[in-house]
């Protein structure tokens, strides 16, 4: 199995939602803040994450001999991060109490009090990734921020330094970097 590419790790989990709690869970997830206000933004190593429900399986048409009808809704949680899954889950447990809201509506959730129980439960939901690929497999979120900030500084410097003579250019560079 291939949960990892470079230093990046792909976590994929499916949790069975408690009966009749699907609508409220769906509403809760839809109302979560986005961007830097997202609870997931508290995890510095996290590149991407998605939380959503699977409530039915799409019927592919008359050539599908059997129709799979789900008895339950299932909460899908995916995360892409750099580092070890154990560290990520501990970060999630301690920094994202909102876990109690989404997984608290799922069957068997042990809560966040017990580190080992929390990690073991989430890992029990994991389905190994079959293939995981990225053009930036070893680049961390922190590195993304550093290199993009540096690129901006280089552009700003290049614009500001236009027309300077050689000595002034060198002096300005040494001041700036």
């Amino acid at each position: 199995m291939s949960n990892r590419t470079g230093t990046a790790y792909a976590l994929t989990t499916f949790a069975r939602v408690q009966r009749h709690r699907e609508d409220e869970l769906e509403d809760y997830l839809a109302a979560l803040p986005r961007g830097s206000a997202s609870p997931l933004a508290r995890i510095g190593v996290l590149h991407l994450s998605r939380l959503h429900l699977v409530r039915e399986l799409v019927f592919q048409g008359p050539n599908q001999r059997h129709r799979d009808l789900l008895r339950h809704g299932h909460l899908v949680f995916t995360a892409t991060f750099n580092g070890e899954p154990g560290d990520f889950l501990e970060n999630l447990r301690t920094s994202v109490p909102e876990c109690d809201e989404w997984w608290g509506r799922c069957v068997g959730y042990p809560g966040r009090d017990d580190r080992g129980a929390f990690a073991a439960w989430v890992r029990s939901l994991q389905v190994d990734t079959s293939l995981f690929q990225s053009p930036i497999p070893t680049t961390t979120v922190e590195e993304v921020r550093e290199v993009t900030a540096l690129r901006e500084r280089v552009i700003d410097f290049a614009v500001a330094a236009q027309g300077l003579d050689a000595a002034s250019l060198q002096a300005r560079f040494r001041e700036s970097f």
Binding site: S134, P135, T148
Partner: protein, 197 residues
């Protein structure tokens, strides 16, 4: 999802329609969860296992609009009796996925057909339009989506990495240069990195 019928067997109930949930900033997530024909499950799993060691691994990540992409074969779900194994696919795009499907359909049609063609009624591309319709029908909506760099495209990140690497080399070499040497080297650096700035 279903309610239990008279014999305890699930029967369909009206679908609750949810939309959105898969966008944040300029990013769009695409998640597909589609059945795999039984005879192909083992082969598909084996193909995924060897793919990272073959040139084919670079095919999909050649597109600079994807940051991370995953395929997961799912054989079972808790307390469900599935007749098929399912292929869970999750990717992300710099903008609406519809803008990029042409690239899949026309640049790597063999890869696309080899993976999703193991499913049922897959519209073998090209052309791209039936593929787009199939994706729209199977795209999982709703929920919430997070990206730490939601306003940066993959291309911007790759450019920033290239500039950063070149800059650190330049900076180290520039430390001992005369002013004239520095000015010439700076011009060369800008010229070399023009495509990334």
């Amino acid at each position: 999802m279903t309610e239990a019928g008279l014999a305890g067997r699930p029967v369909p109930r009206p679908r609750r329609v949810v939309t959105g949930g898969n966008t944040t900033g300029r990013m769009t997530a695409l998640t597909l969860f589609t059945p795999i024909r039984a005879p192909w499950v083992r082969l598909l799993r084996a193909a995924f296992r060897v793919a990272p060691h073959l040139p084919i691994r670079t095919h999909i990540i050649q597109f600079n609009f994807i940051k991370f992409v995953r395929w997961t074969v799912v054989d079972s779900l808790d307390d469900e009796q599935l007749r098929y194994s399912y292929l869970f696919f999750e990717s992300n795009f710099d903008g609406p996925w519809q803008h990029y499907i042409d690239a899949f359909a026309y640049v790597i049609p063999r890869d696309i057909r080899a993976v999703w063609g193991r499913g049922i009624d897959f519209p073998y591309p090209p052309p791209a339009e039936p593929l787009k319709a199939w994706i729209a029908r199977n795209s999982l909506e709703g929920g919430t989506y997070y990206c730490a760099h939601e306003e940066l495209s993959t291309r911007q990140i790759q450019s920033a990495i290239a500039v950063s690497e070149a800059f650190h080399v330049f900076e180290a070499e520039a430390a001992t240069m005369s002013a004239d040497q520095f000015a010439a080297a700076w011009e060369q650096f800008l010229s070399d990195q023009q495509a990334h700035l």
